[in-house]
Symmetry: C2
Subunit: 748 residues, 2 copies
């Protein structure tokens, strides 16, 4: 950002503000009217004692506001990025502004309002002096922050604060704050500058950064009674409602099932401006019935996000870091949604288990009352297929849950579109959560938010070179290259497809199948994966059949990693262990980051078995294929100069050379290790063999031999998902006939 | 065990039993009289509803007894080791016996007594047919189990059961069970056989296995009114009280502070037979005042064990695995001790936080009542030096605690004797626990209890080749060799010594110093370590000065590892990273198991800094020495063919060549990362330099430069611990004078 441009920016903004100041008339609302209105304020203040969690939260806000009164107001000139002290000060300031505003409304103590007013006035002094942020790191640079995104978040909070204290301010103080701070900031977020229209593009974009922008501008408009700002926030800068704006974002950004294509981590973040702005809209424009829009899409989005959690933590899809149901955004969403859905039982379930806080809004108050007065809810988790894409036609994310009989399992398959810039090359990837733990994991992203020593808190280089690559996921990798060659533009054009997602009515199994035809189009490879979660007689826990069926032209190497958490126990192979020297698995597509711990050679013709334990349970993966296999034990860390990667470990099933190929793996949780009593049972896998006994264009059949008496079960997966189609096959001289996609036969 | 020997064993036992049967007269006690007597039973039954946890536990016992009634009694011929199905069946049986006995006493329902009686009768059939266990793996083999230890545990539980149902049995049934099972088993545990007197040796030994044996025999004696067995259990087989027996074990096995030389993990296990047998003695021989013996040594032992825990987990000293305050042994100990110490506040503190269960005894009942009726206790942790050795003269284990202002820190130094066969070569080793996490750790042991695939559940080879070695610990290693050359017999003859353990009365610091003169006697090396936990003005958390002072003849290489838990952030060195090839650190004394991740070279003359984070807090170690240093980043796993080692990581400060040498490291916890709000602060170390500014025969002075304004603090450690001795030194032209062992000067 050169100096000339900054001078031009200031001139432009001065001019824009003059215009705005004139147009700032319109109907006046009664304030507060954003997070809560005066009726709700009375309700909350009156019933505080019946809602202890709410009471505690408001007390905390007031205490925090009170403590801040004696400190000096600090509004420094912006200079650093995320995690830097000035950046963090401006973040702390927007929290304080909101605390002061809310404290004022809940206590009527003017000291809080005055403090917020003074801070606003400091900002009104600073803001007009600011050009673009000096860091110059973001393609959408802000003025107060290094990127406009943070500026939008600032304005969302500040608008709530301003809404609370507006009535306290004299007309001239209002004019100063609005003219020098709120209007130019809103205008900047909405339009950008003559020299840089990145903000304008973002504001009208169907993207979560756009939602922060529309929420910020819309809420600033509501707080200042600027109808024009609110209209543009709702309907886009051209006011057509067809080229941007919050309502279109509601229509476009979630699938009909509420799935957000970037994955759970970003869905959580994206949801925040949606719910907070929707709350404000519901107060100021109730006729829009915003919470009912698109068949209650915000509720669906929240439910989808909840279903994408395990033990309170969001599943690590795409660029994901540690984040879960205790996140502030979820507190906002659960509280606000409860205000319009008092019969929703998921919201109190979450609040009870994960929230130590409420948002100052009527929903938060009522939710806190509900968890104090009503009995606890049973688990609202269910098996579900969340379709991806605006119209639900871009594949989906399948979750098979098992919460029966005290079990706690979630088995997932990702067969979605790429997921925008945060997507990974991970078609048909599997993850397993069981017994409260992450068993087969998705690495998620390599990023250390706000840690300056780690690439200033941005995504690390290894996020591209490893985390996004196919080998980082529990899916098929052909010839050591990532899906779509790891090329974003190509991957973005395609999506996988679910062909089936079903539960057996008898409760014996649940299964899902998805196919991917484009990831290796250049190699003529199509893949189809079935994950079947089935109860077999005599097994202590349900098992999972993981069936990967590959059609290919020419011969290829196929890798199937199982990235696991736990401690390796044994394999049934001849292991050549890396004892005194360690080498990487390859040199590109993520392979360069993997150290090979051991090469494993199965005995000829037998299935290959790998066992590990995690917590008090053991897991065995027993694999076989229609072509010879080898195995590898591996762990992360090669070619990672700055120690950015975690030390994750994997078991790799490799078919070195095959054209068409089917790989069947049986995942068996087993055993029980009681640490208190030091008792152990079932620590050896009960599976003695897994064999693909039939693999035809009509179906695949996998025979499992298990238990001390070598019981047998055969799991059948037809190619055709037609539930009415019949199939017949003779195995070991016995004829098996079934109807439909999946079938299991097992002797008791 | 050959056949001939087994035949002889049977003959011998048949004969021994005949003799015993005759001598089985003596006074008759009223039963039950072991875990509880009839008065206590009435008290417990009457007040059940006021003690919900107790009520729940008894209900669980009764439910478990009830459920077992319909299953077939299974008393198989012994054949396998720990974790094997037959072994586990006999363990399950002793739990069931006890459950049935207790259920009978709490309900008067004879079905439970009858079930226990029948199981006893099955054992009475099986036991006489048994020779020594066929596995032949233990030097002290059992008959029902592979080692006698498990047989003692069996008999402890079975005695409680028998005590409960004795009155229910007819005289002939009693005679059968006593003659064929209880008497011969007690005799076997006490005396062994003509061919193998290993049991006799163990019974009279000052060792926790001996305590299990005396408890088993004594409790069997009480349950069967065999005064002779009880006497031998109390006073040793020669009845002198000087050559064995439980009372002498009480006098010998703990230090005067209650420290058990093998460490916390085994102290927990050792405590079990002590408390359960003491409870029985208190019922049957109250005149012995067993709980008051040796100034309440059992309470002291329990308190020492509690102080050796952090966040409910026992510190990993010597051969330690995961185990903590929720262990069954601790439930026993806390419950039983509460029966005699109703004013002890540690016991309800533990029960509240860690126990979901009670033992069927009066103490358990009263403890459950207390936690239901009384308010919660504040933390009973304190800084303490636990002396080692029977007379408290064999060094000790120092724990500095900081629980002020919401902090939760434990800093430990181990300067004890070797710790018998479970000891490690870890003189003066340091460990740090902070913020609820293990920060600098002791690996503990490599063992997977009851996991047959991992060396049949025994200690793995790597326990000797790595875990016990000095380099596995956070202490000084000279010339790449372990203390005492890793030779048990030599190490067992020596112990370290604490020279000081103190808290500054102003509350500014706590410090401890210990010395070790024998570990490298062959190299002429003596070492002295001071750990000082100090609050410096302007620092967010107290820091730790780790000062290792080495006196040596000739030059040596000195290694100081910091095995850490967390994610590496940065060093201030030039790092040569192992990118595409990894090699071990050495080839013996544990070094062969360590992969070198990076070689680090500090800039000349500057201190060397390493930063990592764990949870929401950062830690930096800034080191300097009186000779040139280098650094290494390292992780475990080399030369570990069976993947027995965990993937722990370490930072190594190495002085490649020096004679006398002082190494000073400042450990600084810093920063705050709020995962919910994604705010970060203080993520960089505030320490810019650590320098040894004076190092004389009188004292060492370390200057810390820190904070944005380069504040300075100097920490002084005199050689002489005399609190009245004065010291003077001029540093940077300024004279510092102080009196006593430690001193800090810091400008505000």
């Amino acid at each position: 950002m050169n100096i000339l441009m900054n001078i031009r920016l200031k001139k432009y903004l001065a001019c824009a503000c003059a215009v705005i100041a004139i147009s700032a008339s319109g109907a006046k609302s009664q304030h507060p009217c954003l997070l809560f209105n005066t009726e709700e304020l009375s309700e909350m203040k009156a019933g505080m004692k019946e809602a202890p969690l709410f009471d505690k939260s408001i007390s905390k806000i007031i205490e925090s506001a009170e403590n801040a009164l004696t400190s000096e107001i600090s509004v420094p000139v912006p200079c650093d990025g995320g995690g830097g002290p000035v950046h963090e000060q401006h973040k702390a300031n927007y929290y304080e502004l909101m605390n002061q505003g809310v404290a004022y409304r809940f206590t009527d103590d003017k000291r809080y309002a005055e403090r917020a007013a003074r801070m606003f006035e400091e900002y009104a002094k600073l803001y007009p002096t600011l050009g673009y942020h000096q860091l110059g790191l973001s393609p959408v640079p802000g003025r107060l922050f290094w990127q406009t995104l943070n500026e939008s978040v600032w304005l969302v909070h500040a608008s709530v604060a301003y809404d609370c204290i507006r009535d306290y301010l004299s007309a001239s103080r209002r004019a100063n704050i609005e003219k020098n701070l709120l209007f130019p900031m809103a205008e900047f977020i909405m339009t950008g500058t003559d020299d840089n229209r990145a903000n304008l593009k973002t504001f009208n974009k169907m993207h979560n950064h756009g939602t922060w922008a529309t929420a910020a501008v819309g809420m600033a408009g509501m707080a200042t009674d600027r109808k024009d700002l609110v209209d543009k926030a709702l309907y886009g800068t051209d006011l057509s409602g067809k080229n941007g704006g919050f309502l279109q974002q509601m229509d476009w950004l979630f699938s009909p099932d509420g799935y957000f294509t970037e994955g759970a981590y970003y869905q959580r973040y994206a949801l925040w401006p949606f719910v907070i702005f929707a709350q404000c809209i519901n107060h100021t424009r109730p006729e829009l019935k915003v919470f009912e829009r698109r068949d209650h899409i915000l509720s669906k989005a929240f439910d989808a996000l909840f279903q994408l959690s395990y033990e309170g933590e969001f599943m690590h899809i795409n660029d994901a870091m540690e984040k879960g149901l205790c996140a502030q955004e979820i507190v906002y969403a659960a509280n606000i949604l409860y205000g319009v859905e008092p019969d929703n039982t998921t919201l109190p379930y979450i609040a009870r288990l994960y929230h130590d806080d409420c948002i100052p809004c009527a929903g938060g108050y009522r939710l806190a009352r509900a968890i104090a007065e009503k009995p606890a809810e049973s688990t609202p988790f269910r098996s579900t297929l969340l379709r991806d894409g605006r119209d639900g036609k871009d594949g989906g994310f399948g979750i098979i849950r098992d919460t029966a009989a005290g079990r706690n399992t979630a088995l997932t398959m990702k067969a979605t579109s790429h997921g925008l810039s945060h997507g990974h090359y991970d078609k048909l990837t599997m993850a397993l959560y069981d017994n409260g733990k992450e068993i087969f994991l998705d690495y998620g992203a390599s990023r250390f938010i706000n840690l300056e020593a780690k690439n200033s808190g941005h995504y690390t280089k290894e996020n591209d070179t490893f985390c996004k690559q196919s080998i980082a996921h529990n899916t098929l990798v052909a010839d050591g290259t990532s899906h779509f060659g790891g090329i974003y533009k190509v991957s973005s054009k395609h999506h996988s497809d679910f062909t089936d997602f079903k539960s057996d009515p008898s409760g014996k199994f649940q299964a899902m199948t998805a196919e991917e035809k484009n990831a290796y189009a250049d190699k003529g490879i199509a893949m189809e994966r079935t994950l079947m979660h089935a109860s077999l007689p005599g097994m202590s826990y349900p098992v999972i059949l993981d069936l990967m069926r590959v059609k290919a032209t020419g011969e290829h190497q196929y890798d199937m990693p199982f990235w696991y958490r736990g401690h390796m126990v044994s394999t049934n192979t001849r292991q050549t262990r890396s004892l005194t020297e360690m080498r990487p698995l390859g040199d590109s597509h993520g392979y360069q980051h993997i150290w090979v711990d051991a090469d494993c050679q199965p005995e000829d013709g037998t299935s290959m078995q790998f066992t590990f334990f995690n917590g008090n349970r053991m897991y065995s993966v027993t694999s076989n294929a229609t072509a010879p296999m080898t195995g590898k034990l591996m762990h992360l860390g090669a070619n990672d100069p700055n120690f950015n990667l975690r030390e994750e470990k994997g078991w790799l099933v490799r078919v070195p050379k095959a054209a068409d190929c089917t790989i069947a793996s049986l995942i068996e949780p087993h055993g029980e290790y009681d640490v208190i009593r030091e008792t152990a049972s079932g620590t050896k896998s009960s599976v003695s063999d897994v064999r693909i006994v039939s693999d035809t264009p009509d179906h695949t059949a996998v025979k499992i031999e298990y238990g001390p008496k070598k019981q047998a079960a055969i799991l059948f997966v037809a190619r055709d998902s037609d539930p009415d189609k019949s199939h017949t096959v003779a195995i070991d001289g016995k004829t098996h006939t079934w109807t439909g996609h999946y079938h299991i036969t097992a002797n008791n």
